[in-house]
């Protein structure tokens, strides 16, 4: 008994000492704030924090993002080296489990380790959870994927390297309208992303003379068979000609695989946003065949015919064997933005970096295109490509067949 007490006491003591040594170590290495050396050879290493959903609801994307993150930091360092700049960067990746509490804990941990720039978290709700801490402690947050309109706030420490959903909703509405469809059912996640997207889409589509019926589904479920069944009867009763699906990858793939077997839903057109682009489930022959047969189309934010993106994509495929998932080019560029902003600021200080970031973004052209930010710290311009799933050399692949830029739709390939 006494031994057990002692053991636990030691355990706790060990943990506390471990933590203390951790702090000591950070203090020693200065959390990346190594004093600037006059010597040319002495390089300074800055840490960039990443709060990514490596587990939890978004883990299927988050795990791939982690690989993008390491790849990006690697590439950034190579770039610094090729420019003979004495700066190096190091990625510190923490898992936030797709929860708000852990996201905040991660940002706090980064703050304690002296890290001033954090990339992530992924979901808008998580960004909201860290906003108050980031603002008052001057930690720059760059979310690659938060698109919630309620976060479009000027002059804070939150930056988002993604276009607002309002823009994409417009592109998607134009696409659906172009395909000659007059009435759709919008089937969307009931979270903030889905709700806002659906509302914008309805507004834009009805401005074009169409009619959109909204139908939401609970996003945190395991399976959506019953939702798909309700969707089917909705489509029938409304006489809709198409479904617009606003989803993420896992839920979207699940919904589509059920819709494939539905007598009504398998016969009509389907459209989608960017959420499921890149999901490997859609490329399974049985599903892909159906998607091809109904001319499944979607929009996604991308810079049109961007060689940097092609290069990034190729590199990522070589590294992992899979297509880059949604928002990964945004994440990739966010790393570069962060790196250059630190260099431009000349000091590893949150406020300076925050002020430098919009300037850097103004001139930065990366895999995701031109990264200029608006007054809210969100991406100002965004072009979209039209994607579909097609057979290429006997294999189903994601293919971009057109673009939406400056309010006009162009097809580069015949759908």
């Amino acid at each position: 008994m006494a031994l057990d007490t002692k053991a636990i006491g030691l355990l706790i003591l060990g943990l506390i000492i471990g933590a203390a040594i951790g702090y000591g170590a950070t203090a020693f290495t200065g959390g990346g704030q190594a004093t600037t050396q006059e010597e040319e050879q002495k390089t300074v290493t800055y840490k960039i924090g990443f709060s990514l959903p490596l587990s939890g609801q978004l883990s299927s994307i988050g795990k791939l993002w982690e690989k993008v993150a390491y790849m990006a930091v690697d590439d950034l360092n190579k770039m610094m080296e090729s420019y003979h700049l004495p700066y190096r960067f190091e990625a510190v990746v923490l898992d936030d489990g797709t929860t708000e509490e852990k996201a905040l804990q991660n940002v706090q941990t980064f703050a304690q380790q002296g890290i001033k720039v954090v990339i992530g978290p992924a979901a808008s709700s998580q960004v909201k959870a860290v906003k108050s801490f980031a603002d008052s402690n001057h930690i720059v947050i760059i979310s690659p994927s938060s698109t919630a309109p309620t976060l479009a706030i000027p002059n804070d420490y939150i930056f988002r390297n993604t276009g607002s959903d309002a823009l994409q909703a417009k592109a998607l509405a134009a696409l659906v309208n172009h395909e000659g469809i007059k009435k759709v059912v919008v089937f969307y996640r009931d979270d903030e992303y889905g709700t806002a997207f659906a509302d914008f889409f309805k507004r834009e589509f009805e401005a074009l003379g169409g009619q959109a019926v909204l139908l939401s589904y609970a996003s945190n479920l395991a399976d959506f068979a019953s939702e798909v069944a309700s969707l089917s009867s909705k489509v029938q009763s409304e006489g809709a000609e198409a479904v617009v699906l606003i989803s993420f990858d896992t839920d979207g793939a699940n919904i589509l695989s059920h819709a494939k077997d539905d007598p009504v839903l398998s016969q009509i057109r389907w459209f989608s946003g960017e959420g499921i682009h890149g999901a490997s489930e859609l490329l399974q022959p049985s599903l892909a065949e159906w998607l091809d047969s109904i001319d499944f189309m979607g929009t996604r934010p991308v810079f049109i015919s961007n060689p940097l993106y092609e290069e990034f994509k190729k590199k990522f495929e070589e590294l992992t064997g899979t297509d880059p998932p949604v928002f990964s080019e945004k994440l990739y560029d966010a790393v570069f933005l962060a790196g250059w902003a630190i260099v431009r600021a000349g000091t590893y200080d949150g406020e300076a970096i925050k002020n430098a970031l919009p300037e850097v973004a103004k001139h930065f052209y990366g895999a995701s295109g031109w990264c200029i930010l608006d007054e809210n710290g969100d991406r100002a311009f965004q072009d979209y490509s039209i994607w579909t799933i097609k057979q290429v050399d006997g294999e189903y692949k994601y293919v971009d067949i057109g673009t939406y830029s400056g309010g006009s739709l162009t097809f580069t390939e015949n759908p």
Partner: protein, 348 residues
């Protein structure tokens, strides 16, 4: 040094929140034997109540009539220097205190009402009923537009943000949180070391026998549930002001079970144990997060996953080697002891 202060001001409120939650759960399970699997519901009630109250009152103070979750609301509240949080310090602190009181009363009242229908079913199903209630509350909040539905409510900050200096305001908040935890702990200690505490233990042992000894068991249980749920509501208020936002999906059932782990690790039926359990759990979690950040990607097991595996293993190992928890249950201490000594001594 600075990072240690930074660690303390970010950890102490979390410790206080979980400390209060585990003391309140300990009152229910450790002393009274009520297995509550829905603690998170009352935590959520406190959090939502304080956020909705504070944001709406602050907005009306600056004469803004906009939805609570809108960008305009966030800007009106929290723009540094000019937002309502900065220009109305007295109101902010007042609302914080009012939230604490109201959250205690409202969450407590809900808890009180919930126990009554479940008594019919027997103790085994009390927990499940509350769990179901909590999930229903969460799903409802996800769909309730006036309180932000899935957008949640945000734009708040800690109640001392108007001080300007973030270290000072957060430090002060950490101290207040710690003070609240201390108050809850002292209250719980005095609450159980009394004839009522004796009755609670008796109800835990055998509620039917307690009923036969004239104890109004349903009322006692409902009272304990009132107090414990009210405490959880107070923890919810702390959470709102700590994080500055409220999101419906924070309040998932697993949070309740983390609190369970804290109580059982610390030792059931011992308030100090519950406190220690919360401290160990949150500290282990933070220390491992910190370590994971230092380790880098080179390990065979990715450090982010390893960190969680260690958390799981720590729970299992502590229970294997010390099933009664870090601090075993303590006897009820009332002045009866001293009286007995006098009485026994009299005979010589």
């Amino acid at each position: 040094m600075e990072s240690i202060i930074g660690f303390l001001i970010s950890w102490l409120p979390i410790f206080a929140i979980y400390g209060i939650l585990s003391i309140s759960l300990n009152l229910e399970i450790g002393y009274t034997g009520m297995a509550n699997f829905g603690k998170v519901a009352f935590y959520a009630i406190g959090a939502y109540l304080s956020a909705a109250l504070t944001i709406s009152v602050m907005l009306s103070l600056v004469g803004k009539n906009v939805p609570l979750y809108s960008i305009e609301a966030v800007q009106a509240l929290s723009t540094e220097g000019t937002g309502a949080l900065y220009t109305h310090p007295a109101a902010l602190v007042g609302l914080f205190v009012l939230s604490l009181v109201l959250a205690f009363l409202v969450a407590g009242a809900v808890g009180y009402l919930i126990t009554y229908p479940t008594l019919r079913v027997g103790p085994a199903f009390l927990g499940i009923t509350v769990l179901a209630f909590g999930e229903m509350f969460r799903v409802f909040m996800r769909n309730y537009e006036p309180l932000g539905s899935t957008k949640g409510l945000f734009g708040l900050n800690n109640p001392f943000v108007w001080l300007g200096n973030s270290l000072l305001s957060q430090g002060l908040f950490a101290l207040v949180a710690l003070g609240l935890l201390l108050a809850v702990y002292v209250y719980a200690e005095r609450f159980v070391n009394s004839p009522l505490g004796r009755t609670l233990r008796a109800i835990k042992d055998d509620e039917v026998a307690a009923l036969c000894l004239g104890k109004h068991v349903p009322r006692v249980k409902a009272t304990v549930f009132f107090i414990a749920s009210g405490m959880a509501g107070v923890a919810g208020v702390l959470w709102t002001f700590y994080q500055g936002s409220v999101q419906p999906d924070t309040f998932v059932p697993i949070l309740t079970f983390y609190v369970w782990a804290m109580v059982i690790l610390g030792g059931m039926g011992n308030n100090l144990g519950a406190l220690l359990g919360a401290a160990v759990f949150t500290l282990v979690d933070r220390a491992l997060t910190f370590a994971a950040g230092m380790m880098g990607p080179s390990l065979i097991i990715p450090p982010n996953y390893l960190r969680w595996m260690i958390v799981g293993l720590v729970i299992v190992l502590v229970l294997m080697f010390r099933p009664e928890g870090i601090k075993p249950a303590r006897p009820i201490k009332t002045p009866a002891w001293e009286a007995v000594k006098e009485e026994v001594g009299k005979d010589g």
